[in-house]
């Protein structure tokens, strides 16, 4: 039987080498090393041999088994590798079939400017206040020292809505009513800015749209002066526009501030750009907000957000902002 070992080894190796799949190899393993495999039978028969022969035969058998097992391991690895390779080939994808026009959302330029402005003012210690877009005539005008019949009302081209008595409800023409609401809701000191959507009964052109956006600022505290206003505008100018930009105030007229000013921004090339209105809050406005103008003084300022957005991206027609054209939106 020992003399058959070589033959058994040869046939086991042949079976292993002949297996083409891992399943086939498992069969070859059973056939060469399983319970009824010739080598296993030989092993069982070892016991019947004389002691000195048994030792030698056992050694020979172990060597054969080791060789067969080694071959089996090698073949297993070989076939596993081949099968993995075949599977990877079968899994092939043409990744260029994936549509290239992935959808990326673009924030609206007005929102970009809006949030950037909020961040600048938050950094300067302001909180962000809000108010309704449909407003009472009182909050939009009367409380801001623009009583009925005041000629300034004409200049606002107000859109009124059918709600309540005629003329009582309008779409706010500026963000200034938020000043009133904030003063009525909160005790001073107050440091707020109020970005928001405003409405004018304006025929659209390159520099006007009936719906646009403003940012309003209000600071109420003891001893607020024109210098605080100028300093705040200057600090804002430098942080929003960057180093090299400066601001100036020059006298102007608004019913809700006294003294009033227009503020201009000087660009690094030296040219001036009219940006917005500002001033010391009129005592009548403070009173409408429930604040004693003898105890507190205040400044307010306001400017258009859309124009800043348009300037930043060199958009020369404000109507473009509201076309909702994807080719426009996706540029920014």
């Amino acid at each position: 039987m020992i003399d058959q070992l070589a033959e058994h080894e040869a046939s086991a190796i042949a079976a292993i080498d002949g297996a083409e799949t891992l399943d086939g190899l498992a069969e070859a393993k059973t056939a060469s090393l399983g319970k009824s495999a010739p080598l296993t039978i030989v092993q069982r028969q070892l016991g019947s041999l004389p002691a000195e022969e048994r030792k030698e035969a056992g050694k020979a058998l172990n060597e054969v088994r080791r060789r067969v097992e080694a071959r089996l391991d090698a073949r297993t690895a070989e076939l596993a590798e081949a099968e993995r390779a075949a599977r990877l080939v079968a899994e092939r994808l043409d990744l260029t079939e994936v549509p290239t026009d992935v959808a990326v959302g673009h924030a609206h330029v007005v929102t970009q400017a809006w949030e950037e402005l909020e961040d600048v003012f938050v950094g300067m210690g302001f909180r962000i206040a809000e108010g309704p877009e449909a407003e009472t005539d009182w909050h939009n005008f009367d409380a801001l020292n623009i009583p009925p019949g005041h000629p300034a009302r004409d200049g606002f081209d107000t859109i009124y809505v059918d709600h309540g008595p005629p003329g009582s409800t309008l779409l706010r023409t500026h963000t200034s009513p938020v000043q009133i609401r904030t003063m009525l809701d909160e005790d001073p000191p107050i440091h707020i800015v109020a970005p928001g959507r405003v409405f004018r009964r304006d025929t659209p052109d390159a520099t006007h749209t009936p719906v646009f956006h403003q940012l309003e600022g209000l600071v109420v505290d003891h001893d607020i002066s024109l210098a605080d206003l100028a300093g705040t505008i200057e600090a804002f100018t430098e942080s929003y526009f960057g180093a090299g930009f400066h601001s100036r105030l020059r006298p102007n007229y608004f019913p809700f501030t006294e003294p009033s000013a227009e503020f201009d921004i000087q660009q690094p090339d030296g040219t001036w750009l009219e940006l917005g209105g500002c001033g010391m809050v009129h005592p009548n406005v403070l009173r409408a907000g429930g604040i004693d103008p003898e105890e507190w003084t205040a400044f307010a300022f306001g400017f258009g957000i859309d124009r800043l957005a348009a300037m930043k991206f060199a958009i020369d027609d404000l109507r473009e902002l509201f076309t909702n054209d994807v080719r426009f939106l996706s540029q920014f």
Partner: protein
């Protein structure tokens, strides 16, 4: 307001570079929008004398003019005008001149005759409108002299100023000059008009009766006789032209000149057409009519003020426009001159109602100096005497109506300095105020400041602060940054709103900003309740209703993009809508909506996701990213959405929006091709949920077991409902229920499908035994069968 430097110099010795002066005026709040150097570009134009006039041998419409251009030699010119005589002085543009209008003058032949230059009309010199004839010059000029020098028409500077509504005084040359002179520290003075008067007096010939004192504060008249009306002298016409007014005739021009100079609008009547010279002032009666100067019959209301004649008939619309019946004509010789000051609101109302805005009404609306009347009357008659040869009746008559008391404002030095961040003394403040007409007397704590009658805008201490600041210079207040007493921050809701926006951007939706106004049928076309709030005064009907949903606006946006052949459109909007309410204001709230058309970011070319699925997926993505646990989609009929591909979005017990596919009929109404995914949610509940931070739940350390269950369920049973039933049956031991397969076949039967769920079981405190797992499995199967009539698939 356009102001000539030469005109200003009549009241103050104003000097300096135009740019410097412009800056000074801008710094005073009279913003200079442009500075133009005017006056004549008349180089090459000289004074020439007509030596002879000869007919042109070949032409009737031109004649030959021999002129002396200064060298004594006759120079032949062909000329198309015939209004000059031998000996007249005329302007001659010599060969080589470029005319103000750009025309170059050369030596050329006209019908065979040489013309060695051009004799000019007023229009050609841009001196006036008259293009009919040659401008015949005053006879005392020097022949051969430069025209500009000879006429004293040196170049001038025209400032175009933007005057704010609170500065009616600056709608006049003297007002602007007063302010500028104060800033420059040069003296300002108003010369007293000089003229001689003749009897009978004004009072003997005319009278005024103010019956409506609230309408008119002061009404002054003067009478002029022997008035001869003609063209205005050149200096007057050119100043009016520079100021933007058209010269008409001497009387009208003087009227305008006085208004521009002093800011007092005035009016002239043909005294012969005002019986006994009697004028009255009252409010109009309802239905009364008046033919105004523009020959339009106006129907008046009791809100309009009128000037009446002695028979109580309206002959003028107060402060807005005169009447036709008393209009000055070429034959008028007796003129009744009016200068009055009217109630601002009345004038504003009337001019607005009749859409009649004039230089006069603009000034009256803002407030005219009631004590400037006498000076305006006097200045008018002074000019009329010089120009029209008018004889001025002695004295004026001034009737007084409702006149406000002169105002004095107490000003506290400390308060002024606090507002302006200055440290001026009361005397320094007084010195700033005095040159602009505010006289002050010292008080214990500051000044008592008398407000000049031409500054109706100044009523309180702060108004005086502006005057002090303006003339001292705003920049002197310095800069200081106030110190807030609390940290700047966005509110929780504001931060959350930004996250909502980021989430949608991350899902490929760009931000749209449609107009919030809709056409009246937009809502109905979108399948929505048409009860939007209307605008009371819309600009156009297409934008006359406030939106109640973001759907119409976003549909229009998609349609617009598709019309430009952009098929893949993903847009979101976060904006406000309005619903009617019984409260003080409409019910205004925020919605966020996303619309998608074309192929979305998920799916492939082979199997694109349906629009409805895309909408739901975007919704879930947003809910997951924002931590909106428990947000549920419940199949439902939703107005505007596809009848069988729509669902309500429920969150914490409320319906907060909808999701699915837009109704194909709605898409058709809006001209949108293909299909469109959609969801719309109320923002407030989302922000509220985001305000509550998630609560930590300990992670179980024990092993979990998965059970797969497939049920054959009728189509009308929602997959999420089955999942919910399974979860409930698990008695708290179910960690997750995941739908992993949906399968239909003939074998399952029409109207049924198999829903396969992987159910993960896990306890926090122990390993579940096989028996427990089997028990839960059983309970799930029974419960689903009971609740949905669904059988476990074999």
């Amino acid at each position: 307001m356009k102001v000539l430097l030469s005109w200003m110099r009549e009241f103050a010795p104003i000097d300096g570079e135009p740019s410097f002066l412009a800056e000074a005026m801008t710094d005073l709040g009279m913003v200079v929008e442009s500075v133009t150097t005017t006056g004549p570009s008349w180089e090459g134009i000289v004074v020439a004398k007509v030596l002879a006039l000869r007919p042109h041998p070949e032409a009737d419409r031109i004649q030959l003019v021999d002129v002396d251009a200064g060298d004594g030699e006759p120079l032949q010119i062909c000329c198309g005008a015939f209004n000059m005589a031998v000996g007249d002085l005329v302007p001659l543009a010599t060969v080589g001149t470029t005319m103000p209008g750009g025309l170059e003058i050369g030596r050329r032949k006209l019908r065979g005759q040489w013309s060695n230059g051009m004799i000019c009309s007023a229009a050609e010199l841009e001196l006036g409108e008259d293009a009919e004839g040659i401008l015949v010059l005053e006879p005392d000029l020097t022949v051969g002299a430069d025209l500009a020098g000879a006429l004293g028409a040196e170049s001038d500077v025209l400032f175009d100023l933007d005057i704010e509504g609170n500065r009616p005084d600056a709608l006049s040359v003297v007002g602007v000059t007063r302010d500028l002179a104060a800033r420059l520290g040069v003296p300002f003075s108003l010369p007293t008009p000089t003229f001689s008067e003749v009897e009978p007096s004004t009072a003997a010939q005319a009278s005024v009766d103010i019956q409506a004192p609230e309408l008119c504060s002061r009404f002054g008249i003067r009478v002029l006789d022997n008035v001869s009306i003609g063209a205005s002298p050149r200096w007057l016409a050119s100043r009016l032209t520079a100021a933007g007014m058209r010269p008409i005739n001497s009387i009208v021009d003087i009227s305008n000149y006085v208004m521009l100079e002093l800011g007092q609008p005035n009016h002239t009547y043909d005294l012969g057409r005002v019986p006994e010279g009697r004028l009255g002032v009252r409010m109009a009666r309802d239905g009364e009519t008046l033919v105004t100067l523009d020959d339009v019959q106006r129907r008046l209301t009791p809100e309009d003020g009128v000037i009446t004649n002695g028979s109580d008939e309206p002959i003028g619309l107060a402060g807005v426009m005169g009447g036709a019946s008393t209009e000055i004509s070429d034959s008028t010789t007796r003129v009744l001159l009016e200068a009055a000051v009217w109630d601002r609101m009345t004038i504003a109302r009337t001019s607005r109602r009749l859409n009649l805005r004039s230089e006069a009404s603009t000034r009256f609306e803002r407030g005219v100096d009631p004590f400037g009347i006498e000076r305006a009357l006097d200045r008018f008659v002074e000019l009329a005497g010089e120009i029209c040869g008018a004889k001025v009746a002695t004295g004026s008559v001034v009737a007084v109506g409702g006149l406000a008391e002169p105002l004095s404002v107490p000003v506290r030095t400390a308060r002024m300095n606090k507002i302006l961040n200055l440290s001026l003394t009361a005397a320094e403040m007084a010195a700033l105020l005095d040159p602009i007409g505010f006289s002050s007397t010292p008080t214990d704590d500051g000044l008592m400041v008398a407000v000049p009658s031409w500054r109706p805008d100044c009523e309180i201490e702060e108004d005086i602060a502006e005057e002090i600041g303006r003339h001292h210079g705003y920049d002197k207040s310095g800069t200081r940054v106030p110190t807030p007493t609390q940290a700047g921050a966005l509110t929780r809701d504001q931060r959350a709103r930004r996250r909502v926006r980021r989430t949608l951007l991350g899902d490929g939706y760009s931000e749209a900003m449609p107009m919030p106004f809709l056409a009246p049928d937009d809502l109905a076309m979108a399948g929505l309740d048409a009860a939007g709030i209307s605008l009371a005064n819309p600009l156009v009907a297409e934008e006359s209703v406030l939106r109640t949903s973001l759907l119409p606006g976003l549909l229009k946006a998609v349609a617009r993009n598709q019309s430009h052949r952009i098929d893949t459109v993903r847009l979101y909007e976060l904006g406000r809508v309005w619903q009617p309410s019984d409260d003080e204001l409409p019910n205004e709230y925020e919605l966020v909506a996303a619309i998608g058309s074309g192929h979305g970011p998920t799916g492939t070319v082979e199997r694109p996701e349906t629009a409805a699925e895309a909408g739901v997926r975007s919704l879930y993505r947003m809910a997951a990213e924002l931590g909106l646990r428990g947000l549920a989609v419940v199949n439902a009929d939703v107005p505007g959405l596809h009848p069988t591909r729509a669902a309500e979005v429920r969150f914490r017990g409320n319906v907060i929006g909808s999701v699915g596919e837009v109704d194909p009929r709605v898409l058709e109404n809006y001209g949108v091709a293909g299909r469109a995914s959609w969801f719309e949610l109320e923002v407030a509940p989302i922000l509220a949920a985001m305000a509550t931070p998630a609560r930590y739940e300990p992670v179980s350390l024990y092993p979990s077991s998965d059970v797969d269950l497939a049920f054959v369920t009728p189509d009308d049973v929602a997959a999420t409902d089955v999942a919910k039933t399974i979860e409930k049956a698990g008695g708290g031991l179910i960690r997750s229920v995941r739908l992993f397969d949906v399968f239909r076949s003939a074998q399952l039967g029409a109207g049924h499908r198999s829903l396969a769920y992987q159910v993960r079981l896990q306890a926090d405190d122990r390993t579940l035994t096989d028996e427990e797992v089997a028990d839960i499995r059983r309970r799930c199967i029974d419960e689903v069968a009971r609740a949905h009539g669904a059988e476990l698939r074999g």
